[in-house]
Symmetry: C2
Subunit: 289 residues, 2 copies
């Protein structure tokens, strides 16, 4: 595995690969790699000639009171995992190169960025859209891989790619879960034993909510159920949202049930603070079956 | 000359050109082509295998009270000029394809976009940066050509390209002028005979100001001279600015003269409303000689 730190070197390498007519698959990550990341990388390797993984903890997508400084970093472990998977290139740029002192340019995906997590993390999706655009211009991928766990991120990135005409296919892969259902996340490392146990409730609530939706229960009742059940867990310090959302517009589904709802799918999603971790999870409910 | 209207077709054509190892030079325009545009195209043809010119009057860079609807359009004349120059591809997209109904993504180059013209045209440079990024992703140029007449535009685009890591060289070409010095601009078509005559004052003032700067006159006195001289012309309805600016940061140079000024160049620039036209012009004063 080649490790590239310089932006210019990565850009030149990408240019050479493209000139040889090879496809580049790209998995952007913030490191502290888990099975979720590795599943993206496996899929990427199957579909492209060259696989590039980036590790970059992106400061501008963290709010001032968020966990940028304590975000888990494990370069040695990450390199081991990536080497074992025979990743071709690890791109691992420095913050001072990605955001030099006089950095001034930002990409905003209006409207979508303020909903769901965006309402609690102002500037987060501006930071995500900006860094992803930069990485696309550096790595020049044909396809880029993202996990469904960060559902809103996939919607914002798809919209940015469509609007700015990036010539990149966005591939969204299923959420990978622990045996007890907890969605894999680098932030699970923040949980102590009791919190880790309590965290399983999130997916349980989403699964139960899915059954309720499919059985025709009203969206209001489903939302009430989700919030009440999560509130009953004393280790959950805050429920930021636990609700039903439109799959593309990300609007909360206010009233009705599936018999009056017109789209092919809906999103059940929750964001909670549990101990020192902000945890999110979602289920895409397929209504076409 | 091939004329391409579809974004997807342009993107595919560009991909094929790149895969053949050829370079793409790109001249984005809003049409109503004059000698200024043609000089960019000639330079582009010298330096690249394939030359793409786009014509797109970009609605989002015009304010609500500006001249978007009456901006001069002359497709027939433009095609004739481009054919005569043996341009390879004219990309001429439709507004509804560039900005579909649910368009949401915008690029902002903070700070620089609010100075000079930006102070009088809120949103203008956001519109410019956004459309240029889109066109770069569609046309995939190795080099893109812009006229120095739109000085601030060149600074904003260079900054966007640097910040977002676009792999595109920005080439800025000298302002082309009429025999009497007036900078060529599609908006000169708005001028009646008297206004056209009065418009020559702008470049005369800039040239005289350049002499004053080089002779060591204080920046304050130069600015006063520029504003007083332009004010004396009754057909000039408004002076938006007539001053000295830092070449990269675009800050107005407040006090001092060249003996205390530390940069290699400074910008003399003016923007005035003359009749129905907003006219701009500038001189880059080289202080290294």
């Amino acid at each position: 595995m080649e490790i590239i730190r310089s932006i210019r070197a990565m850009q030149e390498t990408a240019r050479n690969i493209k000139e040889r007519g090879l496809t580049i698959g790209f998995v952007p990550t913030m490191g502290a790699l888990h099975q979720g990341h590795l599943s993206l990388i496996k899929r990427c390797k199957e579909e492209n000639h060259v696989t590039v993984v980036s590790i970059f903890v992106n400061p501008i997508q963290f709010g001032p009171s968020e966990d940028y400084t304590r975000y888990p970093r494990d370069m040695e472990g990450d390199i081991e995992k990536l080497s074992a998977l025979e990743v071709d290139i690890l791109f691992f740029p420095e913050v001072k190169d990605i955001y030099p002192d006089d950095y001034k340019t930002y990409i905003t995906v209006e409207d979508l960025s303020g909903k769901m997590c965006g309402a609690f993390r102002p500037g987060h999706f501006r930071g995500v859209a900006t860094v992803v655009a930069k990485l696309f211009n550096i790595v020049k991928p044909d396809r880029a891989y993202f996990g469904q766990k960060d559902y809103q991120q996939t919607v914002v990135i798809r919209k940015m790619v469509e609007d700015l005409n990036f010539d990149v296919d966005i591939v969204v892969c299923p959420t990978i879960r622990e045996r007890d259902g907890l969605a894999m996340s680098s932030r699970n490392l923040y949980l102590n034993e009791d919190e880790r146990r309590a965290a399983t409730l999130i997916y349980q609530v989403l699964k139960r909510a899915e059954e309720m939706v499919l059985s025709g229960e009203s969206f209001d009742k489903v939302r009430d159920f989700m919030n009440k059940t999560l509130s009953a867990e004393p280790l959950i310090r805050e429920i930021q949202y636990a609700s039903l959302f439109h799959p593309e517009r990300l609007e909360e589904l206010s009233t009705g049930n599936i018999s009056v709802y017109k789209e092919d799918s809906l999103i059940l999603a929750a964001a909670v603070i549990l101990g020192n971790a902000r945890l999110i999870d979602n289920i895409v409910v397929d209504l076409t079956k």
